[in-house]
């Protein structure tokens, strides 16, 4: 942080300006949250009502009682946590191997993994859809967990690899000298030291899986549909209740927004594969 301001007035004026810009960017989210507390009539009022309306929780109670919100939310939780946990098991072992036992091909393998992430989903939509149909995996949580897990696996391996690289090798070698077996080495030496890295990898992947919309919209109908699909159902004409839509939307994004705030720094590392520091 640098201090360019010669006078406090300058700093205040600049801060006010920055806050106006920041609030303008945040405005759609704020507006959604405000609308969720309005009655349907207040929600479409012209001119728009900012804070001087009758605040109500009826949209929230309505959504929680009448729709299957909890079913969709549960699916979102199962899908994002399930795919992240499976992903961690695969990625931790793989990143461990690559960081501590690199071979000549490790670098190429990492780049190849990254390249699988570059494949646009539409390129493989048809076969995945047909395989899912034939194996009875359409609208199944298991099938979608697999897709989300594979989709995010390269990011997880990359993130964990960059974290593991920063752990001094000597410590693992010392443990090995002291007779630690491989599982002991991983579970009692490596993992405790890598907890912050693993936690941020986990958070980023939960965010990515929670918000994923291409596969969830195309591979689910009702049983396995997460909140992305629940919200999409509001795009039909009979679903156009703005206050209810806003309440449902707020419920769908609130948990992950909070997770996102905590993991914004890791986002840079995870999504640029460490190319920007």
């Amino acid at each position: 942080m640098e201090n360019n301001f010669k006078s406090p007035i300058g700093k205040i004026a600049y801060s006010v300006f920055a806050w106006i810009v920041g609030l303008a960017i945040f405005f759609p989210i704020l507006w959604m949250a405000l609308t969720s507390f309005k009655s349907e009539i207040d929600a479409v009022n012209m001119p728009p009502l900012f804070f001087d309306f009758n605040w109500t929780l009826e949209n929230y109670t309505g959504i929680l009682e009448q729709s299957n919100y909890f079913k969709f939310a549960m699916n979102s939780i199962i899908l994002s946590f399930g795919s992240t946990i499976i992903g961690l098991v695969f990625a931790v072992t793989c990143a461990w191997a690559m960081a501590f036992n690199p071979t000549k091909r490790t670098k190429d393998t990492l780049l190849w993994m990254l390249s699988t992430k570059m494949m646009p989903p539409v390129g493989v939509l048809v076969p995945i859809y047909l395989v899912f149909r034939d194996w009875g995996l359409l609208d199944s949580r298991f099938g979608l967990i697999m897709v989300l897990f594979l989709m995010n696996l390269p990011i997880m391996v990359w993130m964990l690899y960059t974290y593991f690289k920063e752990i001094p090798k000597d410590i693992l070698e010392a443990a090995r000298m002291d007779g630690a077996t491989l599982p002991k080495e991983i579970f009692f030496v490596l993992l405790p030291m890598a907890v912050p890295g693993i936690a941020s990898t986990m958070l980023l992947n939960i965010i990515l899986a929670w918000n994923e919309a291409f596969w969830t919209l195309n591979l689910t109908t009702s049983d396995a549909a997460p909140l992305t699909a629940f919200i999409a159902s509001y795009s039909s004409p009979e679903g156009l209740f703005w206050a209810k839509l806003s309440a449902a939307s707020t419920l769908a994004v609130a948990p992950i927004l909070v997770v996102g705030w905590f993991s914004q720094k890791q986002l840079v590392r995870g999504l640029t594969f460490g190319a920007v520091k």
């Binding site: 301001f5 205040i12 920055a18 806050w19 810009v21 920041g22 945040f26 759609p28 507006w31 012209m46 728009p48 695969f90 072992t93 793989c94 461990w96 191997a97 501590f100 690199p102 071979t103 670098k107 780049l111 993994m113 699988t116 570059m118 494949m119 646009p120 989903p121 539409v122 390129g123 493989v124 048809v126 076969p127 859809y129 395989v131 696996l153 391996v157 070698e173 491989l182 965010i207 919309a213 291409f214 919209l217 195309n218 992305t228 699909a229 919200i231 795009s235 839509l245 806003s246 769908a252 994004v253 927004l257 997770v259 996102g260 705030w261 914004q264 640029t272 190319a275 920007v276 520091k277």
Partner: protein, 290 residues
Amino acid sequence: MSTRASTLAGRIMSAPSIIALFLWMIVPLGMTIYFSFLRYNLLSPGMEEWIGFVNYKFFLTDHAFFASLANTLILVGSVLVITVIGGILIGLMLDQAIFGRGILRILVISPFFIMPTVNALVWKNLLMNPVSGFFAWISMSLGLEPIDWFTKAPLTAIIIMVAWQWLPFATLILLTALQSLDRDQKEAAQMDGAGPIAIFFYITLPHLSRAITVVILIETIFLLTVFAEIFVTTGGGPGLATTNIAFLVYTQALLQYDVGGASAGGIVAVILANIVAIFLVRLIGKNLDA
């Protein structure tokens, strides 16, 4: 200390991920390539036959392809310009000493965490609705006619909502890069009498070049496949006005059941994305040696 045992263990430990990703890549991609050479419609099962490049010929000569290619390029290009320029400006803004900078930063980053379906519906209904949306009120307050976004300027509407969603990403990456800028260099330039504009163009911008490249490449890969925003707002219309290649392939596959044609389209999308990916992988590969 790589012993033979640990190397072997390393191979065994990395194998599951490598095999899983290899299958995930090669099996569906191989099937897509195979299907793209077949006449294959889900409505007439058992009638599949090998037809060579006919699907590609149809896909690539269809006016829908040119319309969606143009839409894809306009969408990607516009969003890149908006987010990179906006990201630099907002990054510079947040790099200053501001009251409540931490909170402000969180507000600015937030759109990235909002799921695309929510983004799209909030923009479409609460903001861009021509009768009682927020923008309509602004227009009317200024004595202007409200804009009927999804009828008159549907692609612009999609561009705005996608740019809003990706602006935080560009901001965050560029801000991170800005914070690693060597202050001494700037101070030395100031001593030599360089103004803020000269400092920006001769010091800051060159320093940001790598981050800008990364933002452009990664956003391009995601923006080529924008889907949910179109799915829940315009459905690709009116006409083909907002159909991009991702959406065109989706309509061919799951609405028209033309597996062969959709597969050919999918392969075209893969080729487009790979042209971008080659540059990205090279850029990141260089970083691995450091």
